[in-house]
Amino acid sequence: EPEVTQTPSHQVTQMGQEVILRCVPISNHLYFYWYRQILGQKVEFLVSFYNNEISEKSEIFDDQFSVERPDGSNFTLKIRSTKLEDSAMYFCASLTEIQETQYFGPGTRLLVL
């Protein structure tokens, strides 16, 4: 069964460094999402992406964040200058127009020191 994959599974970085989290959505999906879950807190929506454009974003998704689909398979989330409070599990999700269900990847655990 097709799955959303994410790399790396864990990343440790220093405050102020740039990180890129990578996702490979399910191959025929057209809509892509990033969510995050700070330890012990709710899963929070960051951004959605369709047709090479951001279609929706939350207040969390400020100028420090950007998303890109650099090729036909990858979907990336970049954090330009990480802060301690960016430490979280980051989930990628994708969706087909027909099913209207978001399927999630296993997540990347980001730790900012």
Binding site: F45, S48, A93, T101, F104
Partner: protein, 113 residues
């Protein structure tokens, strides 16, 4: 703004007994409602959804959920719990199939042998 409440942090049930995990929501317009399950060190796995139609929806692993518009609830149920059902369960709502999901805080289900 849309929101989801899961009033129980943890639900304990004996194996073989029925289980209910509660969820209430608030959203403008017709809700798209979802249940996801998270096992340790895994991503969010889709269980079931309600978009329209019958108020009782059936999903994976024998789970079902009942949509109640007047009570704005979407409780997750299973007639007979298994130890392997022990996990973290999230209810989520959106305003449309491709829109951002808003998650509840999660309910930890513990099924005792």
């Amino acid at each position: 703004a849309q929101s989801v409440a899961q009033p129980e942090d943890q639900v304990n049930v004996a194996e073989g007994n029925p289980l209910t995990v509660k969820c209430t929501y608030s959203v403008s317009g017709n809700p798209y409602l979802f249940w996801y399950v998270q096992y340790p060190n895994r991503g969010l796995q889709f269980l079931l959804k309600y978009i329209t139609g019958d108020n009782l929806v059936k999903g994976s692993y024998g789970f079902e959920a009942e949509f109640n518009k007047s009570q704005t609830s979407f409780h997750l149920k299973k007639p007979s719990a298994l130890v392997s059902d022990s996990a973290l369960y999230f209810c989520a709502v959106s305003r449309g199939g491709r829109r951002a999901l808003t998650f509840g805080s999660g309910t930890r289900l513990q099924v005792q042998p």
